[in-house]
């Protein structure tokens, strides 16, 4: 059975398109490397940047290993608290990826469900959902995320801030992105619901919910997959932006955005590496995921094939 699946995957058009697109291969490799590095950060990183006992303020602001004042212990130098940059980046991308994936998943579930309901029910339900979507679209996503983050901070007691900030951030980024999914899925659902296989299902007496789950959902997921990939890059950048603005992840468990912010204040004193290396990591991650999304969109679109 697995052999069968493998050979089908190998012969599929998607795989063919993948193996004939250098961009897709390179970006997949880069994305995979960063993901693996993040996933196995405790194993591959030379230091544990969260372990306060190993930090030494005397090690602060050491430049990368290849410059004159470099230290052989710290490949990419250290930040203002003496944390090893390489380790901080690996652990940081862990948080960035976690927030990105979780918030994309959150938007996807909310957006796809609302889109399915909206497209299938039509009429008033559709109008209400889509007008809410329109209102939300008139604000920039980052503003909505900031707003939610601000409200959450105001409502939550102070001692919960740090422990809950991760979840608040996921919720804020997630809720700011559902509209795209809902719109796409709504359109596709409206096309699918008029197809005759849906009528055949209605004919045997199936309930709308079952029809949506069994028949329509699998047929509208294609474009959703593409949006999700591209959205992942956006979500990672949004998280970095929020953290850079200081409303995201607390500095004790830095994400890539937080690292860039920390380094920002040292840029003019010549300590460039604190900002630049996390920045490069962020660009590589977002770019490769984005390129993969682009490729997937083209590969799944029969008109561009």
């Amino acid at each position: 059975m697995t052999r069968n699946v493998l050979s089908r995957a190998y012969n599929s058009d998607i795989f063919y398109s993948f193996s004939h697109s250098p961009t897709a291969i390179v970006s997949a490799v880069v994305a995979l490397l960063i993901c693996l590095g993040a996933l196995f950060a405790p194993l591959v990183s030379p230091h544990n940047p969260f372990d306060l006992a190993t930090l030494d303020l005397l090690d602060a602001n050491i430049p990368p290993i290849w410059s004159a004042d470099g230290d052989s212990r710290f490949l990419l130098g250290t930040d203002d608290q003496g944390r090893d940059m390489l380790s901080a980046i690996l652990y940081g991308s862990r948080i960035s990826l976690l927030v990105g994936l979780a918030s994309v998943l959150f938007s996807l579930v909310v957006g796809v469900s609302l889109g399915l309901i909206s497209g299938y029910a039509g009429g008033r339900v559709d109008s209400v959902i889509m007008r809410i979507a329109d209102v939300q679209l008139s604000f920039p996503a980052i503003l909505i995320a900031l707003l939610i983050d601000g409200i959450a901070r105001g409502l939550l007691p102070r001692h919960l801030h740090d422990s809950l900030s991760l979840y608040v951030l996921i919720f804020a980024i997630g809720i700011s992105g559902w509209v795209q999914y809902a719109r796409t899925v709504r359109g596709a659902t409206m096309v699918e619901r008029n197809k005759e296989y849906v009528q055949a299902a209605r004919l045997i007496g199936m309930r709308p919910f079952t029809i949506l789950r069994r028949h329509i959902l699998p047929n509208v997921l294609g474009p959703v997959l593409v949006i999700a990939t591209i959205h992942l890059a956006v979500a990672i950048i949004t998280e970095a932006t929020l953290s850079f603005l200081g409303v995201g992840i607390p500095p004790t468990t830095p994400s890539l955005g937080t690292l860039i912010r920390i380094g920002n204040s040292y840029l003019f004193s010549g300590d460039w590496w604190i900002s630049i290396f996390p920045g490069i990591a962020l660009v590589l991650l977002a770019l490769s995921v984005n390129l993969l999304g682009d490729w997937l969109r083209d590969a799944l679109n029969p008109k561009l094939r």
Binding site: K195, E196, Y197, Q199, L203, I204, G205
Partner: protein, 584 residues
Amino acid sequence: MALLDIENLHIEFSSRHGNVVAIQDVSLSLEKGEILGVVGESGAGKSTIGNAVIGLLEPPGKMTRGTVLLNGQRIDQLPPHAFREVRGRRIGMIFQDPLTSLDPLQTVGDQLIESMQVHLRIGQHQARKRAVELLTSVGIEQPELRLDQYPHQFSGGMRQRVVIALALCCEPEVIIADEPTTALDVSIQAQILDLLRALCKEKQVGMIIITHDMGVIAEITDRVAVLYRGKLVEEGPTRQVLGSPEHLYTKSLISAVPRSDIKLRRFPMVTYIEGIQENVRKDNLATATRWMGQQRNFGGKSDKPLVQVSDLGMRFVLRNSFLKKNRITLDAVKGVSFSIKEGEVFGLVGESGSGKSTIARLIAGLYQTSYGSVHFNNVNVTQLDDKKMLNSFRRQIQMVFQDPFSSLNPRMRILDIVAEPIRFHKLANTEALTRQIVSGLLDYVGLSDQALARFPHEFSGGQRQRICIARALATRPRFLICDEPTSALDVSIQAQILNLLKDLQESLGLTILFISHDLPVIRQMCDRVGVMRHGELLEVAETETLFSDPRHDYTKHLLSLMPGLDFLSREGLDLEDAAAQQAM
């Protein structure tokens, strides 16, 4: 020297799975004022020939051999800019869908004038004058006024007339018409064909008509070329080829054409068919031992009405508004009453927009009725709210849809598609039994067990329609609604599916509501027929009576539009009525 000479045309499509030969050594020639029909089933390569002649072969298609000569000049190797001079100027084109072959953002006049200015290099004023003449010659009234209208202001038939005017505007030597009437209703088809023929003869233009429709071929072509899988199997004068075909494929193709003049008991075996063999099931249909035949307390013809439709109406809201008076509504079905007897095949015929499909969906319960009632087995099903009753009603009515490509969920395996009704209604206790039933159903409609694990896209249109029928039979229905079940299919496949439906109806005693726009098909299938127009039922009669002695004027009109197929070969036909054969 002929007007257009196609010699040894050879076209290949290359893909990563290897080269596919679409056209293999086809030679055709066309004289002035002659209409050549190119006929074949889907995938035969008809349109590919047309596209190759006008230099619009889409990559990866490639002409690997052969020449195309227009008036002795070789045109297939012209560079793109020179080919543009030929295309439109010397070769005109008419496409299938008039809706998409006109630019919706330009007025009809602008499109005609632009084309003339580019090709004939004449002034604005002169071009406009000519455009008026052209519209008059294709039978459009008030051409001055119509010139400044947009395509959406024209009806389908009128639009196709405009497309013809566009093809004629630069006085081409050759016109290539690719399925020019397929998207049109019968009554408009007849007008357009008359127009094309008259224009061809009058202006001495050579025309190639590409079509799958034997009726069109019989109606207007002088000569016909029959294509089968990229090969030219037979060519000659139309009457000769259709009347006494020589090649086996042509014979089987002609025998599969539904006739308007005679009723067949069954379509003869169509020998030249895609992969699957039609199994001769007539004698081994042991339905009593199969899933389909079990637990049936009905069957056989009786005069008791099974379905009774009284004063049925359906109103669609086209534009909703808060105030009732501002709403725009459309009465798709206006107070229709008829009844269908147990065990008969009842036909509904009418042109597009006549409300036949709406009636089918109202009976099936897919639409809510606006007024009137549907009684099934003496129960009013429009007001059923008891869930148990509703489910048992649903099990007894099933539907076969028109489009075999959208009626199967592309993400589900055939096993799951056919088993869905069985699982939903919990008709089988175990998964093994379900599987056995499904495999029996597939076998019954002529598919093997290998189909179970496959996905719909791996099947052809005809095979998909078989799967749809298997699914419809899965609940052991008593009443089957077929909504244009064959209009998306090729002639030979249509013959197979109609045979299958006939066999099922006979062996299972099914009652069928058969909806079609195609009168010959109706004649082959139905016991009684209702004729519909604009949501009203005009006439209900026994099929044979309707064809021999129509009452309503509209019915007479429809019958007069049927292409005359009486000279078609009758070799090997299985006639219903031996007397009819003797009368020949």
